[in-house]
Amino acid sequence: MLFAFWTLVPIVWMILSSLKYQTGMFEMPPTIIFDPNLTNYHDVLVGDTPVVSNITNSVIVAVASTAVATFFGAIGGYGLSRTDISGKKHLAFWIISTRMAPMAVVIVPLWFLFRYADLLGTRVGLVIVYSTFNVPFAIWLMRSFFDEIPVSIEEAAIVDGATRWEAFRYVSLPLAAPGLGATAIISLIFAWNDFLFALVFTGQDTQTLPVAVASMQSLGGLGWGTIFASGTLVIIPVAVFGYIVRDYLVSGLSMGAVKE
């Protein structure tokens, strides 16, 4: 309860404030019952400081990097789970070890790499960065899901006349759907919420929403209403997506999703 209170109060305050005029925002104690208005949303969507293009950037980058991570996570996780190669443990560790360094450490080398590859300020660059961080994690997560699926089910499919690919496609992959859901939402949240990489690697045209929101602060400190409104817009898609896949997420993160 306390935790829920602690986490939700700032969010509720932000959402309520986004519906108020500037004058009512900082009243103490905050008013809960008031006459809401959508001026701030009007401002950020069609007004002086529109963030529509930033939202578009965020959606494209987050969805693309999530798709990449989920796809390679499924393929790589399946391979890691099912093949019996020597040094498999080392390979698995190597894959996850790429996530162990603090993100700030890789920023400088990546910046130089991207400059040479002409990827600075592009959405593709950002998709590559997010995928770099999400794919190892996705592989590990999907691997543990495939480990839970009894091999005999695939063997049954192969004896039934399926190729390895068909056994994966029609039997194992559908059974790992909770894993796909969990992998997708975790990747999406990472990409959608990221500020650091987006700040460093995007240009004016490709700025994502979190960067745009932050940059409003520097415009004279007067844009609290637009900050709150766009902050709310940042939260909504992830909250909605999380709500849709919440069952997957619960069973996904607690494992044991596939029982015979």
Binding site: I153, A156, I158, V159, G161, A162, E260
Partner: protein, 383 residues
């Protein structure tokens, strides 16, 4: 339908774990063969090699006249029933049974549905066709797994301990069901189990495996009455055969098998001509064996030879039978009688058994004498 042949097949895991050691076996078209053995005997590995789920390290496997040794499981046209049923949890019963037809044939959906319905009818599972596996009981899941195997009219059925997850009553029911289906469909079948009762009741021929090798191949009767060695003799039969190590003493008019190394002596006289057939000589060490149901509890008024005094340690009524546990020459023995005979723990009784029912094994475990009294029961070691 086709015959299945294994020709000097071996399987070695991790370069030094020999799971199957150079076995050869020919299974005739339409035959029901049960491979039985304890855990780790290589029986499941053998089956998986026939299925194509493992590749032999050495040797060849033929289905019909085709050498399928290196080929994929999907091209062998065999069907397999797994121990855990391995149903596809996200598909309905209908889809589970039809899955193989969809992938491996050119039948259209309505033809597939017809075949699935036909098989469901045969197995009595039509009402379940729209359900998912998790809604079914163990027995129903087993039937669906059978349906999935039958529907493809395969060259051969492979069963990997299909009944071991079922309770006793259901197991007996399904045992009869599988046997009935096999006889009706006349499909070559290989059935792997560690349960010797399944082996004895279902098989046309039983293959007993131990430590990766075939110990014996024969009809259930042959395996039971004429075991090739002590392992087979002890493995087949419930409760298992009573055994005791004995020394051979050759006397003027009989040959005595003796063990006097503990409180309850074992002493059994053989006619000299039989000892001769078997090739027993003074001072030989052999193992004597007798099945629990062949132990005779002697009434005091009976005049029987070769009796031994024992004290009953434990008495277990089993309903139709009674089990008596006692010690002979330091070995735990079991005597099985009808429910009318009952000796309680602590009671002193005389036991014996007929010469017919005596088994003898040499020091390597090879059978010297099986059931019977004639020459056919003797397996004299080759000179």
């Amino acid at each position: 339908m086709a015959s299945v042949t294994l020709d000097n097949v071996s399987k070695v895991f991790d370069e030094d774990i020999v799971a199957v050691d150079n076995i050869s076996l020919n299974i005739n078209d339409g035959e029901f063969v049960v491979i039985v053995g304890p855990s780790g005997s290589g029986k499941s590995t053998t089956l998986r090699m026939v299925a194509g789920l493992e590749t032999p390290s050495d040797g060849d496997i033929y289905i019909g006249s085709d050498n399928v040794t290196g080929g994929s499981a999907r091209t062998r046209d065999i069907a397999m029933v797994f121990q855990n049923y391995a149903l596809y949890p996200h598909m309905t019963v209908q889809e589970n049974i039809g899955f193989g037809l969809k992938l491996s044939t050119t039948l259209d959906q309505s033809e597939i549905d017809d075949r699935v319905n036909e098989v469901a009818d045969l197995l009595g599972i039509e009402p379940l066709l729209d359900k998912e596996p998790k809604e079914l009981s163990g027995g129903q899941q087993q039937r669906v797994a059978l349906g999935r195997a039958i529907v493809r009219y395969p060259e051969a059925f492979l069963f990997d301990e299909p009944l071991s997850n079922l309770d006793a009553k259901l197991r007996n029911e399904m045992r009869t069901e599988i046997k009935r289906l096999q006889q009706e469909l006349e499909v070559t079948s290989i059935y792997v189990t560690h349960n010797q009762a399944e082996a004895m009741t279902m098989a046309d021929r039983v293959v007993v495996m131990h430590e990766g090798q075939i110990q014996q191949v024969g009809t259930p009767e042959e395996i039971y009455e004429d075991p090739a060695n002590r392992f087979v003799a002890e493995f087949i039969g419930e409760p298992s055969m009573n055994c005791v190590a004995v020394d051979v003493e050759v006397g003027p008019d009989s040959v005595v098998l003796k063990n006097t190394r503990s409180e309850t002596d074992f002493e059994y006289r053989l006619p000299p001509e039989m000892a001769d057939h078997i090739g027993l000589a003074e001072g030989d060490s052999v193992t004597a064996g007798v099945r629990p149901e062949d132990i005779v509890f002697v009434n005091p008024e009976d005049d029987r030879k070769n009796t031994m005094g024992i004290e009953v340690n434990v008495f277990e009524p089993m309903g139709s039978d009674n089990y008596h546990y006692f010690s002979v020459a330091g070995q735990e023995w079991t005597g099985r009688t009808g429910s009318s005979k009952e000796y309680s723990a602590g009671e002193n009784v005389q036991i014996t058994f007929d010469l017919d029912d005596l088994y003898l094994f040499d020091e390597h475990g090879k059978t010297l004498k099986s059931k019977g009294v004639g020459v056919e029961a003797s397996h004299a070691p080759e000179a």
